[in-house]
Amino acid sequence: MPDLLLELFSEEIPARMQRKAADDLKRLVTDGLVEAGLTYASAGAFATPRRLVLTVEDLTEASPTTTEERRGPKVGAPDKAMEGFLRGAGVAREDLEEREDKKGRFYYARITTEGRPAAAIIAEMVPQVIRNFPWTKSMRWGSGSLRWVRPLHSILCLLNRDDGAEVVKFEVDGIPSGNTTEGHRFMAPGRFSVTSFEDYTAKLKRAFVVLSDEDRAEAIWHDATTMAFAAGLEVVDDKGLLAEVAGLVEWPVVLMGEIGADFLDLPAEVLQTSMREHQKFFSVRNPATGRIERFITVANRDTADQGATIIAGNAKVLSARLADAKFFWDNDLRIARDGMGDWRESLKSVTFERRLGSQSERVERIAALAREIAPMVGADPTAAETAARIAKADLSSEMVFEFPELQGIMGKYYALEAGLDAEIAAVAEEHYAPLGPTDDVPTAPLSVAVALADKLDLLTGFWAIDEKPTGSKDPFALRRAALGVIRIVLDGDHRIQLEAAISGALVPHQERIETDDTFAPYDDAIQALYDHGRDDDADALTQSVAENLPSWHDPERNAWNAGKALNLLSFFHDRLKVHLRAENIRHDVIDAALAKPPTDDLTLIVARARALQAFLDTPEGENLIQGYRRAANILTQAEEKDGVEYRYGADVKFAETDEERALFKALEAANTAIAPALKAEDFAAAMSQMAHLRGPIDAFFEAVQVNADNDIIRRNRLNLLHQITETCGAVADLTRLEG
């Protein structure tokens, strides 16, 4: 069975697109083959800067011939209908067959689709794949209309069998398929022909091209680490850079060079960032000192001078780059050692968001907020305020202007240079955390206070001006900020009344936008108030908005604040559900926990939810829930029927059976044990006490008819059911559970 080899040879493909393009080529072509009725044993895809390559092994020679039977018009149908059917089926009238079924006598056509040779299928399908290739960004060139990532130069397409190779003939926009390709642009110019994938890879290697991106990356990493090790140094790991560099070369040659002595004192992060971003160099570290002392670059060729010219050139370019970095660093140090006043001053002229004011105003808000939050997380309020004031000063520094990704990191260095304590300096770096869902969260109390203040100011600000995330759009990364708050609070078991914190953080935004002639939309606030049963506030807000916007008075102001806070709080609840999904805590379990006040103490909510989920995962838990539901259902039905609520006054003296008396006793024992557990917020202990009720409840329902004829006994039993629901609902509102 033949093998297919396809190579699309072009000008340099961006490194970041190569892997996906190779995978797309494999998927699209193999899908096309299968769809056309061919099968194959295996396929592989490769990419270099100048080529995408696909190999498919053991392809069937042709698609099978298939026959299909199609029912046509009734015998005696009008000619028009017959003609249409014959045309559609591609058969002649005399080829039709007549057959009788329940509905009458019909014509039938047998349509045979002849199998097609693999070459014909490929020749038709590959040009379509090329024309419709899913590049994220593609272009035209010259006078042509074909789109490719960069100009496409040649197409190699072969089917090879034991007895030789056949070119699969086709043409795309004037480019004919053939059996030739090129090797390395400089080391082996000129075209050569190939006969199979084996022949192709072997000849490429001789022409200084390593086909596999994995092989290139592996070779680079091996040579780099070996070279560094021989010098008593180590390469700083950087998988992203490795993949990129492997996509920039066809013939990787690893070279190591020195960093000028003038630059060795720059912070390691600055050296690394400058080398990686500008030059795509790996950093080489001295393990003893932690300093970055050398660089590794990957050239695309061997040279007669063993790379001496290339290293010298690269070292020179790096020196120019680092001279810039050092220039920034030296300038920045002057301002840092002077107390960073210039930077804080210049933040006044940097707009954070038009309606939310300057970066400087934002910093002041964060400082005030950090001061409020500090006592709740065990931080000193004054230190938190100081730390917040300097945490973003580096945004005005030259280094951060050049390398935005160094924000915070530079802030820490500069704060230390300004003579601030290490704990305060660390806040500059740590208050941005966590950035990603798996990032570490800050744990130092000062960093926690400022990180929370930073995120709450961001969230309340955008809530105030009604710029919330919608669908996939979240330009200000507000979901990330909310998740950050959740993770910091949970990680540190912090007890924060979030609603009050949000409400307080909203006030400065409120004061700011109140003077704005476009007062931020308030529909969400009104809706949130209605949702929380605060109809009077909602009505008042609606009315005053309709009458005299924007000159508001305290009652409306308070209602707006409360409504926005409730709306933001439910956003937190949504993010919490998403976050806890990873812990396998069901969303209805969280709803059950959220139904118990306070609904804004995240640590408490999660403690309830975790206890409930753990309980539900045990057989006792599941059974108790059944008993609870039975009690709740009977109770609800009775209350609806009688139009009264059965809440109080269950008395053991009206109990008629032992089971009833046992249940009274068990409930009393459980309540006595649950109360201190609740007080200690030991919800797992509280739930395990409830588990003891399972036996008595089951026995009660087994032995006792709740709706007894005697009204006193019936009422007493209904009140007893209420006690069951009360006791079982002590940790979470079990009616919220689904299923």
């Binding site: 340099e12 272009m139 400089f186 795509k280 060729r301 040279t303 007669a304 370019v317 940097v350 038009r354």
Partner: protein, 309 residues
């Protein structure tokens, strides 16, 4: 043709590039006589990349970036510098190879150096233009930008132009092995009166840096911006039929001069630090609107391919 001897001066590099591209058939043009931020602004590139008429030109363009001024003290930054620009429409299939030949022509030995094409998508918000291509690296240094224009002035480019831009100072410093650009020989170092790049430009750099950063009258500049903007629109509002000659004359080029002027004034205002972040976008949008109007007008002209269609 390949001249593997190393050039000896800044001007020799320019002369060799001109000779090379002349031999490849380009019209060797002279710099545009207006202040521009980059060689792309020359109408030989922006406007000539529009329409269907074939085009092939190369030229040196003195360029000004006021914010890059360092009073002549920086080894590699100047507010006034040179770009060498090549524009060929339609882009020939072997443009990469022809380009590499130009590097050989200025003495870069491909057997010893590492040349790489590194992704760099080009976009000019003020020109309403974008293209795909690369930065060309020689031993880790960017020596050229290589772009296939896809859109200019909001118009799809059809056919596509290939554009090459060489940053001459940086390239020359590399080829001539100079660490400080001011020390780079401008003319032949053995000439009776040898001059360095610094001899020629250092004084000017200091004077312009002071004017750009601290002295330029911002009120006057703001007025210039508005004047250029208004004049550009006024020119294009004129009826195409000239009442005096009776000829059909669309004045895309004079209008485009006003767009260039507005763009440069904006750069000066930026260097004076009087444009806030939010205003910045608005100014860029206003310049883009001008270049787009000019592009719209140019494609109505003969040179823009209106009759060739």
């Amino acid at each position: 043709m390949a001249d593997l001897t190393t050039p000896r001066s800044f001007q020799e590099i320019i002369l060799r590039l001109q000779a090379y591209w002349a031999e490849k058939g380009c019209a060797i043009m002279q710099p545009y006589d207006m202040e521009v931020g980059a060689g792309t602004f020359h109408p030989a590139t922006t406007l000539r990349s529009l329409g269907t008429r074939p085009w092939s030109a190369a030229y040196v363009q003195p360029s000004r970036r006021p914010t890059d001024g360092r009073y002549g003290d920086s080894p590699n930054r100047w507010q006034h510098y040179y770009q060498f620009q090549v524009i060929i429409k339609p882009s020939p299939p072997d443009l990469q190879e022809i380009y590499l030949g130009s590097l050989r022509a200025i003495g870069i030995d491909m057997d010893l150096h590492d040349i790489r094409f590194v992704e760099d998508d080009w976009e000019s918000p003020t020109l309403g233009a974008w293209g795909l291509g690369w930065e060309v690296w020689c031993d880790g240094m960017e020596v050229s930008q290589f772009t296939y224009f896809q859109q200019v002035g909001g118009h799809d480019c059809h056919p596509v132009s290939g554009e090459l831009t060489y940053g001459l100072e940086r390239l020359a410093m590399y080829v001539l092995d100079c660490d400080d650009g001011n020390d780079m020989p401008f003319n032949d170092p053995d000439a009776t009166i040898p001059l360095t790049y610094g001899d020629v430009f250092r004084e000017a750099e200091a004077q312009y840096a002071r004017w750009n950063f601290d002295v330029a009258d911002t009120d006057v500049l703001l007025q210039h911006f508005q004047d250029a903007e208004a004049e550009c629109a006024r020119i294009l509002e004129q009826p195409a039929d000239d009442p005096k000659t009776g000829r059909h004359i669309i004045m895309a080029l004079p209008a485009y001069d006003q767009a260039i002027k507005a763009s440069h004034v904006f750069n000066l205002l930026d260097a004076r630090g009087v444009i806030s972040v939010t205003e910045r976008q608005a100014y860029i949008g206003r310049v883009r609107a001008l270049t787009k109007m000019c592009a719209d007008a140019f494609v109505q002209t003969d040179a823009g391919g209106a009759t060739a269609r």
